[in-house]
Symmetry: C2
Subunit: 402 residues, 2 copies
């Protein structure tokens, strides 16, 4: 018998409980022995829910029970998740988590602690929900130098952008609707401001490149400034607007950024709609690859957590995680990252725009008569900012991958 | 030092040699020790190629060298690949292969032999080229009951179908062109008749369901009957024609089949074009997921083989492959598999078609005036065949996923 404990009976934690119980025969067969949830830790009561049989309010029940070899941390946030995780690892228990905040902040340290105690700290569910991406990066793409990882790593924002494109609605309306339908949280800042995908691309980059990428060092823009009019240009250009977290090897370091982009059909991420997520990976030998699936949701995320639980069970007493170096990787300074942009200016500024950006082709939409848009050549963020300053009436801009 | 030997210096074998040498620092770091190719076995000479330094014509050089712990079998075909693989495993050497023919035919036996000798028989490159799919199925999707695997598993046929759709060319022209460009072999039967994806879906199904799926038992159709006119209907319906190998859990067993299908934009496989491959997987908890990448080609396939080599090195002395049961899984008999079809009949048969298939909506194309097409409701293959017999002048039919 393999005993697990779940910390936090929220969306993901209750999903993990359900997956382990509902698929117990398969899970146990894959784990090599019967897997049982012995405890669920939560401060709340859940009257009428069978989880009451295993519910505890005291973490020490779990920590002091030597039978529990796997702890599932699905509390989210840094405290007390960090303390609980550390204590579990130091007690020689494996920890599996969906907590990207904790992994992005303390992943290296917690993996080192796990290694020192002959156990594993696993976090497949922290990036891309149910999509297997951490394990493929660690165990499959080991013959390649990874040259790029770009992903749609947040379901909430992709849902909102998809809705805006399909319904013509503005950002606020689309957000409110997403909240009503449960696709956005009441406090959606981490999603809509891009912090959530920012943490995820930091984790994926650290694994892929083998050195630490601190998410605090990454330039990060959300989708709050994307307007219904921007979407009209996207439609006219047969493009889609996606919040893309990208991490690209360049000659002068790694260019890592989170921002909304217009992309066209040649991008594998083009057709990733609604709450789905996808991670594009380019290896120097493999070439293009992509991993696609449910980026959030109780059961898909729980499926990834349970995959980790099974892996911990199969590798009892054996640390198998590829730990990145503590040393930080060299990031290209934001001002030196190269991009192309779509820029919207009032009609009167067309001449000025041509002076600044060269002989650009302008795009005019019939229902936005008093303005025009154009797509720039590739230039650095620094140079773009300089030119943009000279167009104080610029309506909006967005990066493009055309 | 970890010593490997490569059997066969063809497309994939030479790719493996290149990946291990070119990415040696990364590969060795991931493997935990320096990885070196000590032998390449091939009957030919390669004057001027640095491989001459390690070339041998005698397999016994490899078999009797105790330093060689990993054998890469990239010869293809059953003989002598089977004998060589068996001998290597029995000598306590790991074997990594891209040989889908051998895995489909003797995979179970070879995995059992590997297990008995404390080594591994790995074959990530046998399905979907560079796409990581075997390992995710074995180690990531372990919390799920897999309900469906459907894939575009052959680059040659997908290239031909994409070219037919884009250029309006007929099958023979597209095939000849693909041969000229190196995307189709001189003897392309295994690809165009569907045997290659048939073997691959058998392997993937065996892993996913944990019981043997014999590719001889799978109904398999290729793309040789797809015409330029069929493509016109696809275009009119905004559909694409894809050779799909599918494996679906139903109430009465597993429905496994290889055949060309018309699919529409709601399918994740819709935008997989040219030589790319993709595998769609549905789990009962995970929901939809997809794995996309280069399905063939020297370096992408080699990248997958090298991923296996690294995994063998990391797991020296430890069998980690999930072996499916020898017992065969219950397949739905072909006549009882359910599908929908697009059927083309001469104009004169429209009334008869309505009598047989119900009040179907007909589609007429301006440049194919003397015929019409319609899409049937879902019915079994057996029932469809019965009705089709009563339309002896039927022009063509194809299964659809609409």
């Amino acid at each position: 018998m393999i005993y697990a404990a779940i910390l936090g009976y929220g969306t993901v934690g209750s999903g993990v409980y359900k997956v382990i119980n509902k698929n117990n025969a398969i899970v146990s067969k894959n784990a090599g022995d019967t897997l049982k949830v012995k405890y669920v830790l939560d401060l709340r009561e859940f009257e009428g829910d069978p989880v009451m049989e295993v519910l505890t309010h005291d973490y020490n029940d779990i920590l002091n029970d030597e039978e529990v070899s796997i702890v599932v941390e699905t509390m989210g946030g840094l405290r007390p998740a960090y303390q609980f995780t550390k204590a579990a690892l130091e007690a020689g228990k494996n920890v599996c988590t969906s907590n990207k905040e904790l992994v992005a902040e303390h992943g290296h340290e917690l993996m080192e602690i796990a290694k020192a105690h002959g156990v594993n700290y696993m976090f497949e569910a922290s990036c891309g929900g149910g999509i297997p991406i951490i394990r493929p990066l660690m165990t499959s793409l080991t013959g390649d130098e990874i040259e790029e990882i770009s992903g749609i790593l947040n379901g909430t924002t992709n849902y909102i952008l998809t809705a805006m494109a399909e319904n013509g609605s503005d950002f606020d309306t689309a957000l409110k609707n997403a909240q009503k339908l449960g696709y956005a949280e009441l406090h959606p800042e981490a999603d809509i401001e891009g912090m959530d995908p920012c943490r995820k691309i930091a984790i994926l980059s650290s694994i892929a490149y083998g050195k630490a990428v601190d998410y605090h060092d990454i330039h990060c823009e959300g989708i709050t400034k994307v307007t219904a009019d921007d979407m009209k240009y996207a439609a006219a250009l047969e493009a889609k607007v996606k919040l893309i977290a990208s991490s690209v090897k360049t000659k002068s370091g790694y260019a890592v950024m989170v921002a909304p982009y217009m992309i066209i059909e040649n991008s594998p991420l083009y057709s990733v709609s609604g709450v789905f997520n996808a991670v594009y990976v380019r290896g120097n030998m493999l070439g293009d690859s992509m991993f696609y699936g449910s980026g959030a949701g109780s059961l898909p995320t729980a499926s990834a957590v349970v995959g980790d639980v099974v892996d911990c069970a199969k590798n009892a007493g054996r640390n198998i995680m590829k730990i990145w170096d503590e040393e930080k990787i060299e990031l290209v300074p934001f001002e030196k990252i190269h991009s192309r942009y779509i820029v919207r200016v009032p009609e009167k500024d067309t001449k000025k725009a041509r002076e600044l950006f060269g002989d650009v082709t302008t795009i005019t939409l019939t229902d936005l008569e008093e303005e025009c848009a154009f797509i720039t050549d590739e230039l650095t963020e620094g140079m773009f900012a300089e030119k943009a300053e000279q167009l104080p009436d610029m309506i909006s801009y967005m990066r493009v991958k055309f």
